[in-house]
Symmetry: D2
Subunit: 112 residues, 4 copies
């Protein structure tokens, strides 16, 4: 199982400040979604391998992009409701850091 994740340049070891990730309440639902996304990526791989028609591949790429947006929006909503609000309630630098981090993540999504 070789993943192709981007190297994480900054350590974001925030586990100390956000013990229970918001999305865990729905972990089963999220796992089903990422499994489907993995299947979509596998399907696109197969389409290229089988030399299918360009436009049909582009349609599947647009569908996968939409699925990824939906996943990201779900995770972000949970993150705002849990980590960010909790940190903001306790206030201070921690709250500020979580808000800045969430805004940066939103910017990456809007611009990607």
């Amino acid at each position: 199982m070789n993943d192709s994740l981007l190297p994480v340049t900054e350590t974001t070891d925030d586990s100390g400040s956000c013990h229970t990730h918001g999305y865990l309440g729905d972990k089963k639902k999220y796992l089903a979604r990422v499994k489907r996304i993995e299947g979509q990526a596998r399907g696109i791989h197969r389409m290229v391998d089988e030399e299918q028609y360009c436009i049909d591949i582009l349609t599947q790429i647009a569908a996968l992009t939409s699925a990824l947006e939906g996943l990201a929006l779900g995770l972000l909503d949970d993150h705002l409701r849990h980590c960010v609000v909790d940190a903001a309630k306790s206030g201070g630098e921690e709250g500020e850091a979580k808000l800045a981090e969430a805004s940066a993540a939103i910017a990456r999504l809007v611009r990607s």
Copy 2:
């Protein structure tokens, strides 16, 4: 190997009109890209399974979305250079149909 592709509602059996897909000249390069994309999707699956930090998962989703955009733009460029231009040269309904199909694909990418 269970793919999760969208059902294709309209048959786009264009193989008759566009025998050699533009991207085939670079098939090796495209296969390497889709393999990496599949690895990125697998990595995101693993991150959710291991309950990693939301923001780190969002970063990887943005990276995968960018990789998909790059793949789509490459396929589209090849498609315009080959299928669309060839069909437009021969003119008539075929040329018109290919142009309309390409514009619809571009619209899906811009809006997804």
Copy 3:
């Protein structure tokens, strides 16, 4: 001065719950940005009127879209820091409503 705003279908008279909008601290900065955005829109109008080259118009459209994204991300960041966090601190339905509203706004930005 005829604006072309979308009709607002739901009244969002939230002024009662969020008296001082987050962005007001930087109102001057935001006014400068929206003035520039208005100028960009006017410039695109003029380019079409003067029958300039398509590709140059598309370049200016992409620049305006990026400027709008930047404006939206700035407003959203201020909104999260003020209205959403304040409402979440006081908790209850109000906090929940503000979070849902912010998530819906983020979704519209990511998908537009």
Copy 4:
């Protein structure tokens, strides 16, 4: 009338190679669209000036972004049908240059 267009760094004096821009057949329709877009930008300016609610401003920004996407997709479709296809038919460097230019414009739209 002070426009805020980006400085065009590369001269794209393509008028010699593409005398009649594709969109001119529909100039009236395009002028109506850009007028409406200008009105939307003016409306957003006014909303900030009147210190309206953040979320309502974000909604109008998303609507303007969608309108710009629609305009860009229309211009691009016309450009492909006229300039690009004509240049590709005459072939050679000119055809190649037009295709590369169109693909770059598509990439800016997809990524903006």
